[in-house]
């Protein structure tokens, strides 16, 4: 089975409070913030690796399986791909583009081209990127490919015959399980990296993965240097044109301080009278 994982490099989300809005509201400025892989994409890489390995250490890919990572971005984004290769992915694709000339729709169209070329059985991706928080690419991609999709995945179970997956999706009020025939698109949420969230019927049920995306071990960091990492201009994909234009950015209004109520009846009364929440 071949899995494609798209990656995006984003400004350090842990320091989101340091972003500024350019004068006039023209754009968001992230100067001085360290670029980091989008965390949801790291979870997607982790999920793809878990789906294609047997849980032993050192971790090894199952025969016939592969994980390909791809990104559209500046040349420096190759370091993001290398990190994924150091985690265990098998090969990387960088299509050089500047972030300003991309939007969710164009990225989805470009990904559809990559899918056409790479012919993966499954696309696993982050539910959204933490910079724009748009949460669109996975959905548009599935639509364009005409593939089934499941978003906000918190569990994935690959069938024995590798022809379908059962995806647990986080929804308001609980978890809904969907069965998808492959090929398909899955977008993952935070809980996909819980110790037992992925089942592939090879890794023993008793195996506990570490919580979170794995750390690249040093031998793998060295091995990653020798893995194939192809670079090509974005134009080589033959898609262009962004549909999104940003009119103006504004900082959200500062939050007002909360108040303390003296007891539950007062809380209920205020929720009813002032907040009109009840």
């Amino acid at each position: 089975m071949k899995i494609l994982v798209p990656l995006k490099r984003t400004a350090d989300p842990d320091n989101a409070n340091k972003i500024k809005i350019a004068p006039g509201g023209a754009k968001v400025v992230t100067d001085g913030l360290e670029p980091k892989p989008n965390p949801f994409d790291e979870y997607a890489v982790e999920s793809a690796l878990r789906l294609t390995e047997n849980g032993t250490n050192p971790k090894a890919r199952l025969a016939g399986d592969s994980v390909v990572v791809a990104t559209f971005g500046a040349k420096e984004a190759s370091q993001t791909l290398r990190q994924a290769l150091a985690m265990g992915a098998d090969s990387g694709l960088l299509f050089e583009a500047s972030d300003e000339n991309l939007d969710g729709d164009l990225v989805a169209r470009a990904l559809a081209k990559v899918v056409e070329r790479e012919k993966p059985d499954l696309v696993v991706m982050g539910k959204q990127a933490v910079d724009g928080d748009s949460n669109q690419v996975g959905q548009i991609l599935a639509e364009r490919l005409g593939w089934p999709s499941a978003t906000f995945a918190m569990s994935i179970e690959l069938s024995q015959d590798k022809k379908s997956v059962i995806v647990g999706r986080e929804v308001d009020g609980g978890v809904i399980k969907l069965k998808l025939a492959l090929p398909a698109v899955i977008t993952v949420d935070l809980r996909i990296v819980a110790p037992k969230s992925i089942t592939n019927h090879v890794t023993p049920q008793t195996h506990n993965y570490q919580e979170g995306a794995r750390y690249a071990p040093l031998p793998m960091i060295m091995a990653a240097k020798k893995k194939p990492l192809a670079e090509a201009p974005f134009a080589s994909l033959g898609v262009e044109g962004v549909k999104t234009s940003y009119v103006k950015f504004e900082a959200p209004p500062a939050r007002k301080a909360g108040i303390k109520v003296k007891d539950v009846p007062e809380l209920v009364q205020r929720l009813r009278a002032e907040a009109k929440a009840l």
Binding site: E34, N57, A216
Partner: protein, 593 residues
């Protein structure tokens, strides 16, 4: 409160790439498989391991130290997760050569990555650091048998390693060791003796423990020249590949005020006359071999001290930004809003002083690590020799400055927390307890002072001293060319001249046979040297900011200014004290104390 970063990523970036230029190390043949990308990914892995796993386990391990039951030590259960994580990530053997399973990572990069692990949980990381050291001794000096038995399981974390030097009556003075080793005729030795304070001496997460033990062969000369080094496992191999009891016993667990996650033990070897050891290195050369591990361990202690100061600095910084109290000087309006602690003059002083000590110490240790890489792998023999000289000279400072000034810095972190800092509800008190150890183990501050003045600065007929002065001068000139305030550069130059003259005067006393005159104030001398060295390094860092703008770079330059204007003048004051050679304590009858 914001999450404690343990160490500043921006500072690490500046240190690695702008100041130390670690990428240049890849020009050495030994490191040719590496590039900036491998360094960055390694630091990232360790950073995450530290922030996500080790730090979360710090308080639990501090609160429930290892305990002895049925002769064995139970380490905290969380170590059962942390140890495989450390081993599998490759922390234990990162710097070791490919042919023994390592990845030939520069020691500089490994050291910088270890700052995060040490800041997160010094005890947990130390199990790994000691294991690397033990493995390295066997790798460097062991014969094929010893290497075959112990090297792989140490480097892959199946076993852990220790250094077992100290005996109850012989701590600072290793010349007085009395543990013995008697040849058994089969290539192994019968070991007998008691050791104390042996860290990581037993545990419940790895299969076996290998102690690197100093002992005397029968009939060996007295003093340090009669000491040999042995690998002594808790369980020894049998002929059929199994492992059996090797007569190593835990005689007691030391109850410690800090560094509580790792057990420090009284061990007895050969109570039943059946403890076997394997000689490592030539007989009677044990101390010389052990010094390889001790020099590494001294830098590790420096790194640990620097990291312990750093994590507390960030904790107190976040606290000071959040806690409001009182009003600014001059604001007498009681209805105005209270300000954050960071608005108060002396709180800022306490914060900047911590920053200088903590991050300056990180820079000092990292710089030493680069000298170590250069000394071992530079293609040019003269460069190797030069780097070795500087490393030797700076090691006692890198061991003791972060420990001594770090302790004061950790106290400032408590001070900034006010009454809350004195309560065990907050973390800062625990780092103060941890830090005290660093001026004691691996050679106390007093021993480092004797080493610096009695051996290191006068080494090679003064060439070591001259080389250091040359190195400092070179960096100062660079700093000037990169726009660092000339008055600061001038201050460090003056202090360097004063210190250099003082050193020569003391050496002359020594040559004339006046040992007390030379060495009587050696700890003051060490103190002065530390202040001077940090002045040099802060200007080096300030230069590396290349006048870039932004809060982070402003902070680096402010720290440089603070240290040079407030601390470097101490060099002159201490030099005056040393030169005066007052006999208040030296000449005193001890009964008068």
């Amino acid at each position: 409160m914001t999450r404690n970063p343990l160490v500043s990523d921006a500072f690490v970036d500046l240190l690695m790439f702008d100041a130390l230029d670690v990428s240049a190390l890849t020009a050495f043949d030994h490191f040719r498989e590496h590039d900036r990308g491998t360094f960055e990914l390694w630091v990232q892995s360790c950073r995450r391991l530290a922030r996500e796993k080790l730090f979360a386990a710090y308080r639990p391990m501090d609160s429930a130290p290892p305990a002895l039951s049925d002769g064995r030590v139970r380490t905290h259960p969380v170590m059962n997760e942390l140890w495989p994580a450390l081993a599998e990530t490759g922390v234990i053997n990162a710097t070791r050569p490919y042919d023994v399973g390592g990845q030939q990572l520069p020691f500089t990069v490994a050291t910088i990555a270890s700052f995060y692990l040490l800041a997160a949980n010094g005890a947990a990381y130390s199990f790994a650091g000691l294991t690397t050291g033990a493995g390295h001794l066997i790798e460097a000096f062991g014969d094929e048998t010893v290497r075959g038995l112990f090297l792989e399981p140490l480097y892959n974390g199946t076993f852990n390693g220790t250094m077992a030097l100290t005996e109850p009556h012989a701590g600072s003075s290793l010349a007085d060791l009395t543990s013995t080793a008697t040849p058994r005729g089969d290539g192994t030795y019968s070991i007998k003796g008691s050791k104390i304070f042996i860290s990581g001496g037993d545990q419940s997460f790895a299969r076996n423990t290998v102690h690197m033990v100093l002992a005397r062969l029968d009939g060996a000369p007295s003093g340090t020249r009669g000491v040999s080094l042995f690998a002594v496992p808790r369980e020894r191999p049998t002929n059929d590949g199994a492992w059996e009891h090797n007569d190593v016993h835990v005689a007691g667990v030391i109850h410690k005020i800090g560094w509580r996650g790792i057990p420090s033990l009284a061990l007895s070897f050969g109570d039943e006359g059946d403890c076997r050891g394997w000689l490592v290195g030539p007989s009677n050369h044990g101390l010389k071999c052990m010094f390889q591990m001790m020099n590494e361990a001294r830098l590790l202690v420096g790194a640990s001290a620097a990291a312990t100061a750093t994590v507390a600095f960030y904790e107190s910084l976040a606290y000071a930004r959040e806690r409001t109290q009182g009003r600014r000087l001059g604001d007498t309006d009681p209805t105005s809003k209270p300000v954050a602690l960071t608005e108060h003059a002396d709180v800022r002083r306490m914060l900047l002083e911590q920053k200088c000590v903590a991050e300056g110490s990180l820079a000092l240790v990292a710089r030493c690590a680069k000298f170590s890489d250069t000394a071992q792998h530079h293609p040019d023999g003269d460069e190797r020799e030069r780097a070795q000289m500087l490393l030797d000279l700076l090691t006692p400072i890198a061991k003791s400055f972060p420990a001594e000034r770090g302790f004061q810095s950790n106290a400032l972190a408590v001070q900034i927390h006010g009454g809350y800092g004195y309560s065990s509800e907050y973390l800062v008190e625990s780092w103060l307890r941890d830090q005290k150890l660093n001026s004691i183990h691996e050679g106390t501050t007093q021993i480092q002072a004797l080493d610096l003045l009695g051996r290191k600065v006068i080494a090679r007929g003064g060439r070591a001293l001259a080389t250091l002065c040359e190195e400092v001068e070179r960096d100062l000139a660079t700093a000037l060319s990169k726009g660092v305030d000339p008055s600061l550069v001038a201050s460090v130059r003056e202090a360097l001249a004063r210190w250099s003259a003082l050193t020569q005067a003391l050496a002359a006393k020594g040559l004339a046979g006046d040992v007390h005159g030379m060495m009587g104030h050696s700890t003051d001398y060490l103190d002065a040297t530390g202040s001077l060295v940090l002045g040099w390094l802060w200007l080096w860092l300030a230069g590396a900011t290349r006048a870039r703008e932004g809060h982070f770079y402003d902070g680096v330059r402010a720290a440089a200014r603070f240290w040079v204007t407030r601390e470097v003048p101490r060099v002159h004051a201490l030099a005056a004290v040393i030169e005066r050679d007052d006999q208040a304590f030296l000449g005193l009858d001890e009964r008068a104390l």
